[in-house]
């Protein structure tokens, strides 16, 4: 279209019209849009499939590498209180109090062990600390629970508590509740929150747990000891003499007991110290403060052997630095495997493409046969071949190349991984090489020779440059496959021949440190993309041919 027709209003003749009278431009773009939509509809099933089953799970998994809600969700009060702490020495007593209540509820929900495992990634010892504390916290509360119970056994009964804390309205509904129905939402009695704020808070937490997790009536379940602890705290600071609701006498008697000098109390800090002296060291509190935010760079730092500390980012201690070594080893071994695949695959591909098609087809089947065999079978076969009492060693001993008591260690180490993986990945090298080589016209070689070139010159100057795209394609394929390989190194690699992917698998399925696994995976993905980009810049991706 020329410039004059692109702006129809200025055009004296008016816009160019289609057969039905609409402007041609409009009708054309509509037709194109329909075509585009149709094309999109055709690819939509695949697109949606890839999005749902591939991209979304990967994105979700990668997101875990920064997600860190577990700390603030499990210990909300403590993490909030630690925000004001300067990180030197020990946090104030109020933080211990918050930690007691947070941990108590977490332990009842059995969530404290998960938080312990999470913090253990950053500070070894955290897991056992939290597990022990989950069991030990009762000791603090039971001091109060027992004293109140001795005063009046109603303090250890479900109903008096419910009547004192709950609103009349709710009490009626709760009493009418029958198994299988929905439990009525707990409501506090008016004025209780002002009079006994901590107790109200703890009883509400207990109520929500009993209703939502246990699915039991509050009229049947006696409160846990954190509620008694809260009651003591309230009674020691608040005046309840004006209270006239249900069980007023009981409450006033308890207040009198708390005020009396015989009443035994436990300091939260001491209580924690008794459970484990690690609570009286700043380390665990610093870790909690450091990992309180909802998102963390901790996992990524961990994957490069670094560590977040209050003083900034630091290297991990020597004996914990393993990931950079593993990344380097993975890259190095993948490179070695790729090179040996080139060396072994090139002659095969060359012969394949230069043989008459009958022999070539037979040879091709030999190349493809292992390709069709189960990966596990091939790897296990290598195990039998390579082990110290295995076929290769037996033959070497029989020939006399190796002494019987000095057999070669070719498995459970790097050698094993390199040999087995080279074999397994070889078809991925041969096939693209072969398809490129079979397109190289034989006339070029003949022409070079007829012009007086030696065999070597013909190969090196004429044939080889034309086969480079095949090498490129094979190398990219083999290298990228090798870098993420898991099963073969796991079986034949021992401890020195394993890849970063084995570590990722370990964290996914054994240690369940999914955040770290995600971070390691993200880095691996980035490395592959970077290498791909570098390859594109140096060789050019257009030069890669698969056929």
């Amino acid at each position: 279209m020329t410039a004059s027709t692109t702006d129809p209003e200025k055009d004296a003749k008016g816009p160019m019209l289609a057969a039905d009278g609409t402007p041609l431009k409009k009708s054309l773009s509509r037709a194109l849009r329909v075509q585009k939509l149709r094309a999109l509809a055709l690819v939509a099933p695949l697109l949606i499939f890839v999005l749902v089953t591939f991209i979304a799970p990967i994105a979700d998994m990668l997101f875990r590498s920064v997600e860190n809600q577990i700390v603030s969700n499990t210990m909300p009060k403590t993490t909030r209180a630690l925000g004001d702490w300067d990180g030197t020495d020990l946090p104030p007593d109020a933080v211990f109090e918050d930690a007691y209540y947070d941990l108590f509820v977490a332990a009842e929900r059995k969530e404290h062990t998960r938080l312990g495992s999470r913090l253990n990634y950053e500070m070894t010892g955290a897991s056992s600390l939290f597990r022990k504390s989950g069991r030990g916290l009762d000791d603090i509360g039971e001091v109060y629970q027992d004293q109140f119970k001795d005063l009046d056994k109603n303090w250890d009964e479900a109903e008096p508590w419910a009547e004192m804390m709950g609103s009349e309205d709710w009490l009626e509904k709760e009493a009418a509740w029958e198994k299988g129905e929905r439990l009525p939402k707990f409501r506090l009695r008016d004025g209780v929150e002002e009079m006994l704020p901590r107790t109200a808070d703890q009883y509400s937490a207990f109520a929500s747990f009993t209703h939502n997790e246990d699915r039991k009536s509050l009229l049947k379940e006696e409160p846990w000891s954190a509620v008694h602890t809260a009651l003591y705290q309230d009674l020691s600071t608040r005046d309840v003499s004006g209270y006239s609701g249900p069980h007023a006498d009981m409450l006033k008697a308890a207040a009198a007991l708390v005020a009396s000098p015989e009443f035994e109390t436990v300091d939260f800090k001491e209580g924690f110290g008794e459970i484990d002296k690690d609570w009286l060291k700043p380390a665990i509190w610093r870790t909690l403060k450091l990992y309180a935010p909802k998102y963390t760079s901790g996992y990524f730092l961990n994957s490069v052997d670094m560590k977040l500390t209050p003083e900034g980012i630091e290297k991990r201690p020597e004996n914990e630095r393993i990931y950079l070594t593993l990344f380097k080893r993975t890259l190095f071994m993948s490179l070695v495997i790729t090179c040996s695949c080139i060396l072994l695959g090139y002659p095969v591909a060359y012969i394949l493409s230069n043989l008459p098609s009958r022999q070539a087809n037979l040879l091709m089947i030999l190349v493809l046969l292992p390709f069709w065999t189960s990966l596990l079978v091939r790897t296990s076969a290598w195990k039998i071949m390579l082990q110290q009492q295995g076929v290769i060693n037996d033959v070497l001993v029989w020939i006399g190349l190796v002494a019987d008591d000095n057999r070669l260690a070719m498995i459970n180490n790097q050698t094993g991984t390199i040999i087995a993986m080279t074999h397994i990945l070889l078809p991925f090298m041969i096939l693209p090489m072969y398809s490129v080589m079979s397109t190289i016209p034989k006339t070029y070689v003949r022409a070079a020779k007829s012009l007086g070139a030696t065999d070597w010159t013909t190969f090196w100057r004429v044939y080889f440059p034309q086969s480079v795209p095949g090498i490129g394609a094979g190398s990219i394929l083999v290298f990228i496959l090798a870098i993420g390989y898991y099963i073969t190194p796991e079986i034949v690699g021992g401890t020195t021949g394993t890849f970063i992917s084995n570590r990722i698998a370990y964290h996914i399925s054994t240690s369940l440190n999914w955040g770290l696994a995600a971070a390691l995976g993200a880095i691996l993905l980035a490395v592959v993309l970077l290498l791909y980009w570098a390859y594109d810049r140096i060789v050019g991706i257009d030069n890669v041919k698969l056929g």
Binding site: V52, A56, P57, D60, R109, K110, T113, R114, G116, S117, N120, Y121, T124, G125, A126, S127, S128, R131, K132, G134, N319, E320, I322, T325, L326, Q387, Q388, Q389, N412, G494, T495, T498, R503, Y506, S509, T510, S511, L512
Partner: protein, 368 residues
């Protein structure tokens, strides 16, 4: 993730819905165990007779017990429990119980009373080490060696593992820390009664790893209990640790040139846990199975296939001869007085508390 969860949940629902039988019991069950000779003994003693009584039930076995804790955590996170009954070591049962991943068990109500009339609780006695644990057997982790590769002086001391001079050659050890750490400290000169105190400190853990370091490049790390007998039979290792029943199978049933060391063997319990959160029909089936599989006779029957001691006191007198070989089983039990001269009783509570800590260190050390 949401979507995955929904998908999984729907699948689980359809599967569960299709499985409800007239008696409100599911007809399929997935039992998780340790594979090899041990799982075989369970199939023979428990599930084959059970299947004969209930031909409608199909039981599938999974060999994932070594990763049971991790997998149950993952299943719990995904909200889809695919296992019905899991065989775990004592320490793992405490961990799973603490994490709310295993169901609490009312022993007297859910399990059969002893054949001698004692209540289930009395019959199991000390083996009830956590609220979720349904004990089966007493076993020990010990060391086997190739009799033809140790010369004229077969090892009699657990520290032979660390003695590369007298017993050169590869060893196979568990890829998980329990037993390895205790033996390392024991052979590093720590008194038996102090071992867990030392192992609770970071310095003690480093000390154990340093001791293991001395044999690290001569060690093949196993993940399945059947690995060591295989490696020994192949002559790949001169000695290796595994469970005593596996060694018994290799020695008595397969006549391999293997000897067994009864020194500082780690005595431990093994038993069932039922995952928390099973649908009612599946739970009903599992409870029915467990009640049958842990009664006095069944536990005694298992001992006819593998040399592990039954956890019930009332089963002990019923332990007889090997089902195929006809040899007396009692002298091969880890509880036999002749074998138990220097046992090392595993402290489950220690391992349930410290497993995460020590695992992290051990695995990092392995990867070095």
């Amino acid at each position: 993730m949401k979507l995955t969860k929904t998908l999984l949940a729907t699948t689980a629902l359809t599967v569960a819905a299709g499985a409800v039988s007239a008696e409100d019991m599911a007809n399929s069950m997935t039992i998780v165990s340790w594979g090899g000779a041990y799982q075989n003994s369970q199939v023979k003693a428990y599930s084959e007779p059970y299947a004969a009584m209930h031909p409608e039930v199909s039981i599938s076995w999974d060999e994932s017990s070594a990763e049971a804790v991790a997998k149950l955590r993952a299943m719990n996170e995904a909200g889809n429990i695919t296992w019905d009954l899991v065989d775990v070591e004592a320490a793992d049962s405490i961990r799973l119980c603490d994490e709310g991943l295993a169901m609490e068990v009312d022993v007297d109500e859910m399990l059969a009373p002893g054949e001698d009339g004692s209540s289930a609780e009395d019959d199991f006695g000390d083996s009830l080490i956590s609220d979720c644990f349904i004990p089966q057997i007493v076993f020990s982790t010990t060391v086997g060696y190739r009799t033809d590769m140790v010369g004229d002086t077969p090892p009699s001391d657990i520290c032979a593992i660390f003695d590369l001079e007298t017993y050169p050659g590869k060893r196979s050890l568990n890829k998980r820390p329990p037993a390895n750490m205790e033996w390392a400290l024991l052979c590093d000169g720590v008194a038996k009664e102090d071992i867990y105190d030392v192992l609770a400190t970071p310095e003690g853990q480093d000390r154990a790893l340093a001791k293991l370091d001395t044999i690290k490049d001569q060690t093949i790390w196993w993940t399945a209990g059947a690995d060591t007998p295989q490696l020994l039979a192949d002559g790949e290792v001169v000695m290796g640790s595994t469970y005593n029943g596996r060694l018994f199978s290799a020695i008595a049933e397969q006549n391999q040139p293997i000897g067994m060391l009864w020194d500082a063997e780690m005595l431990d319990f093994d038993g069932w846990i039922i995952p928390e959160g099973l649908p009612e029909d599946r739970l009903a089936r599992v409870l029915d199975f467990v009640k049958f599989a842990t009664d006095t006779q069944r536990l005694a029957d298992q001992a006819a296939y593998i040399s592990y001691g039954p956890a019930r006191a009332s089963s002990a007198p019923l332990v007889g001869k090997h089902a195929e070989l006809g040899i007396d089983m009692a002298p091969h039990m880890p509880t036999d007085p002749a074998n138990a001269t220097n046992v090392f009783v595993t402290q489950y509570s220690f391992w349930s508390d410290y497993r995460d800590d020590i695992d992290a260190k051990f695995q990092a050390w392995l990867a070095k």
